[in-house]
Amino acid sequence: MNFAGEDRYSRQERFYGIGAEGQKKLAQAKVLIIGAGALGSACAETMVRSGAGKVTLVDRDYVEWSNLQRQNLFTEQDAAERIPKAVAAARRLRSVNSSVEVEGIVADITAEEIGLYTRGIDLILDAADNFEVRMIVNDIASRDGIPWIYGACTGSYGISMTIVPGQSACLHCLLDSVPAGGDTCDTAGIIGPAVQMTAAYQTAEALKWLSGNVSALRGTLVSFDLWTNRHSSVDTAKLKRADCPSCGAKRTYPYLSPDSHSRTAVLCGRDTVQIRPPSQVRLDLEEWERRLSAYGRAERNPYMLSLTLDRHRMAIFPDGRVLVHGTGDPAEARSLYHRYFG
């Protein structure tokens, strides 16, 4: 079934900045969205409704009740069934616009694997929830010459910047190392409008780039606070560093080196720690459900296995990743992991 009739994009084509020509370019575009949480939902919905050619979402997490307040692609049923966000998002997006090719990938972004997702991509929208992943995105974007759009939000605050390799300062120029969890963690909570505003800045830039309106790009680091009514737009061109390890003359792409990232990651404001397996594995979830049900309540869906223990809950994915809920302490999470997975 194809509903991409003549009328579908008429309002967008009437818009002077896009037109029929811009719409054609958009229909050829392949967009990668890193993360399918709040920003990922909002960005993906706009890109799919606007008729991008292909939208790929990569996310490591699954839908929980606390997501529904702002992550606009998900339903109560997704939360009740603990559906991986990439799966639930792709399902919803396909029903919104069947003429767009939508791919949802349940995976963690790592230095080793990001190249699998960026091949042939025209633009990357950042909807990650941490800087470790953003620095990996920044390095691969610089290496392969793919523009990407940083976006992040917390509380009523949001920030975004478009990074065009070879032209703008990159994220590594602006931040000399990965910020520690504490200063960027979303312990302040978040309101939906901050998400929508950030995603609006990101997707407006995406539409400009993909429809061939390069000169319309904003060119500044924009930030705002919807509660205190502040807005700022700063020209960061002068912060581009000739000696930047990610985009400078002697670039080495340090964050694409496999040893640059940790096996354990504390998920911001979530009382959750993610542990990656030491090497690539493929878990048979049915087998593990049988094994682990001796220790607690084990529940399985096609995408993950959930094990509820006394004080903790573990979400186990086929790629061997485990989310340990109920602790923010990496050591405690690791010891639980080793108890069940050796």
């Binding site: 709040a38 953003r134 939000c153 917390t154 978040i190 680091l221 700063v234 911001c268």
Partner: protein
């Protein structure tokens, strides 16, 4: 001296002389910032040498990670 930080009038004692001094205050020191001083962006390497003066307008943009 009187400064305008993100539009808010702020009174600082004289000991606060450089941008680095200002950014080491408790409310800012844990944050990653982009700093604009009177409309001009200031590189990280210059934070320790840029002197603040009465009436300066400072824009502090901090990075966040949530998404």
């Amino acid at each position: 001296m009187k400064l305008y930080i993100n539009g808010n009038e702020t009174e600082l004692d004289e000991a606060c002389a450089t941008l680095a001094d200002l950014l080491s205050r408790p409310e800012w020191k844990e944050r990653r910032m982009i700093v604009e001083l009177n409309g001009m962006i200031v590189g990280r390497d210059d934070f320790g040498t840029v002197l603040l003066a009465d009436g300066d307008r400072i824009e502090l943009v901090h990075f966040v990670g949530g998404g």
